[in-house]
């Protein structure tokens, strides 16, 4: 992973343009981060369908709600930290409460914006969005999934939150993958432990599975791209087989993927679970690879924590 060069945000810029051609009623709203999120590519292609609101996210989000009532499909291309924390009330009350057809995309998610530090690293946006009724919450693992997920969001009639990262991510979803809202996807079959992940951590989870395999531990890896509504059936089916689970997320361990999986397991299949993520602390400024190491999110560290869990399972 690198935060330099072509990033998932560049794929987002392309996706906006391709979706703009498919969905005539789509308009894109920006809060002065277009060049960063790459929404400026949509602005160049469709200047009349791009609206600049400046550094005023709360107004932008409620305005999007108003636009949706007249039949437009507003797409908010915004930093994840600002649309979740700063404008949480607007997202909740203007958009979600009346179930309006607005599509939020939270970019620069989690640690994927390593330089900026805590103020711009959204480590709790999934927690906030999951808690908002009527909101569908999705995190894209790579460019292929991003484009398909965004199209699914645009076809869906209601509010959606799509979380993406700034940095480059490996292409991991197979060519014949078809995103389906609320379906988790098994990328690797296994029987000793299930690793649930989403977004940019899916790639590291697959690498961790490779490391574990070298030690004779066969991990099942599942991409839970829809955090809400979550795919209970796939989660329970896997854990019934493996008997224990690890979640890996570019997010606090409170309220994100780990919590979502724990909710499912607690109600349907009580199972030993280890949540790997940002452990109740803020992000920090630095270089991406060293930041991931700092927070225990490299493939080696994921593999180590999974092995520890398996030891606990034995006893």
């Amino acid at each position: 992973m690198s935060h330099l060069g072509h990033g998932l945000r560049d794929d987002w810029g392309q996706t906006l343009v391709s979706m703009g051609h498919k969905f005539e009623q789509m308009v894109v709203l920006d809060a002065d981060v277009g060049p960063a999120t790459r929404a400026d590519r949509f602005a160049k292609e469709f200047p009349n369908r791009f609206v600049q609101f400046g550094c005023a996210e709360q107004n932008m989000i409620s305005a999007a709600a108003g636009m949706a009532t007249v039949g437009l499909i507003p797409v908010l291309s915004i930093f994840a930290c600002f649309c979740s924390k700063r404008a949480a009330d607007q997202v909740s009350i203007s958009i979600a409460y009346p179930h309006l057809n607005v599509k939020l995309c939270g970019s620069y998610a989690g640690l994927s914006t390593p330089n900026t530090g805590a103020t711009h690293q959204a480590i709790d946006d999934i927690n906030i969005m999951r808690g908002i009724p009527n909101m569908v919450v999705i995190e894209a693992a790579d460019a292929l999934e991003l484009e398909q997920a965004m199209e699914a969001c645009l076809q869906y009639d209601g509010p959606t939150y799509l979380r993406i990262v700034r940095c480059a991510v490996e292409r991991i979803m197979p060519d014949d993958y078809r995103f389906v809202m609320n379906h988790a996807y098994r990328l690797r079959e296994g029987h000793d432990v299930t690793i649930f992940s989403s977004g940019m951590m899916v790639s590291a989870s697959l690498q961790a599975a490779d490391l574990l395999k070298a030690k004779g531990i066969i991990a099942e890896v599942i991409n839970v791209s829809t955090l809400k509504p979550i795919d209970t059936e796939t989660i329970v089916k896997s854990v019934k087989k493996t008997g224990c689970a690890v979640t890996v997320e570019n997010h606090t361990i409170f309220g994100g993927l780990g919590s979502a999986v724990a909710e499912v397991l607690g109600e349907h299949q009580p199972t030993l679970l280890k949540r790997i993520g940002i452990n109740d602390c803020f992000g920090t400024s630095g270089q991406l690879e060293s930041i991931l190491d700092h927070y225990g999110l490299t493939a080696i560290q994921i593999a180590e924590q999974t092995e520890e869990l398996l030891l606990r399972k034995k006893f």
Partner: protein
């Protein structure tokens, strides 16, 4: 004189009576700010707006966003009078658990409500979004946002003021129900937003002022020509609790319940108001 002033004055008196009855039957409500809004709402819904009660979602209709969402009882009363829904909803559905008329307007439940509001400051932003979309889609309808004075303490209002002017939304009119009262007392004591006329002018809006209880003046000001290059704001001086002597100017009636004695006194005064309006 505009010919239907007398009729609108009678409607205003009846609207006040309806609001009181709703509040009494519900047990409590935002009565002061509903009563201060009456003439503004009556002028809009009975004279100005291009709307179809039998077709609440008619795409070409003028839009109203009640940014001061706690004034919903007033809007419900005028909607019922216009035939958007049966009148008995006012007695049976207002603030009943999960029923049709919640205390703050819900666009999914109430025919004639164009936007769900209640969290102050959001409605004006929604209204500007509607206005932008209308222009983008070459629609001719106008958008009204009804705002409170205390609401102007919310920072989002000023984000909206900047944006509406920046985007030259000449199809947007905000009307401020300026009763200078809010929960904690005088708005000018709590956090004085004045001078709003100067502030809105500085933000690039066209500004006019009016007595918010003078029907003829309201009509004249709304219907007279305005420049179409920028949004408009009408600062309407009003009295919180207007029409009931012991409520007028009282912050404590922002949200309140009435005892039997207060209800009886209010009924008497509003009854006299109706008689006076009919004469």
């Amino acid at each position: 004189m505009i010919p239907d002033i007398k009729k609108l004055t009678q409607i205003a008196a009846k609207t006040r009576r309806d609001i009181l009855e709703m509040m009494w039957l519900a047990g409590s409500g935002h009565i002061g700010g509903s009563l201060s809004l009456v003439e503004i709402a009556v002028v809009l819904y009975h004279r100005i707006l291009n709307i179809r009660p039998q077709e609440p979602n008619w795409p070409e209709r003028d839009r109203v966003v009640l940014s001061k969402g706690h004034g919903a009882a007033c809007i419900y009363a005028v909607l019922a009078a216009r035939g958007f829904f049966p009148r008995h909803w006012l007695w049976n559905e207002f603030i009943r658990t999960d029923r049709k008329l919640p205390e703050h307007p819900d666009m999914r439940k109430v025919p004639g409500i164009d936007m769900s509001t209640g969290s102050l400051g959001q409605g004006i932003s929604c209204a500007l979004g509607i206005a932008w979309a209308a222009r983008h889609l070459h629609k001719k309808f106008h958008v009204f946002a009804l705002m409170g004075c205390g609401e102007h303490q919310e920072g989002q209002v000023w984000e909206a003021a900047m944006a509406a002017s920046h985007h030259c939304l000449g199809n947007l009119t905000a009307i401020i129900d300026y009763n200078n009262r809010q929960v904690s007392g005088l708005t000018s004591d709590v956090l004085d937003p004045a001078p709003l006329t100067d502030k809105y002018r500085a933000f690039g809006w066209h500004v006019r002022q009016v007595d918010g209880h003078e029907i003829e003046d309201l009509i004249t000001i709304i219907e007279s020509p305005w420049p179409e290059d920028r949004p408009r704001v009408i600062l309407a001086r009003t009295v919180k609790g207007k029409g009931v002597s012991f409520m007028e100017g009282e912050a404590k009636f922002h949200a309140a319940s009435l005892n039997d004695e207060q209800y009886a006194q209010a009924v008497k005064e509003l009854g006299l108001l109706e008689v006076k309006a009919a004469s």
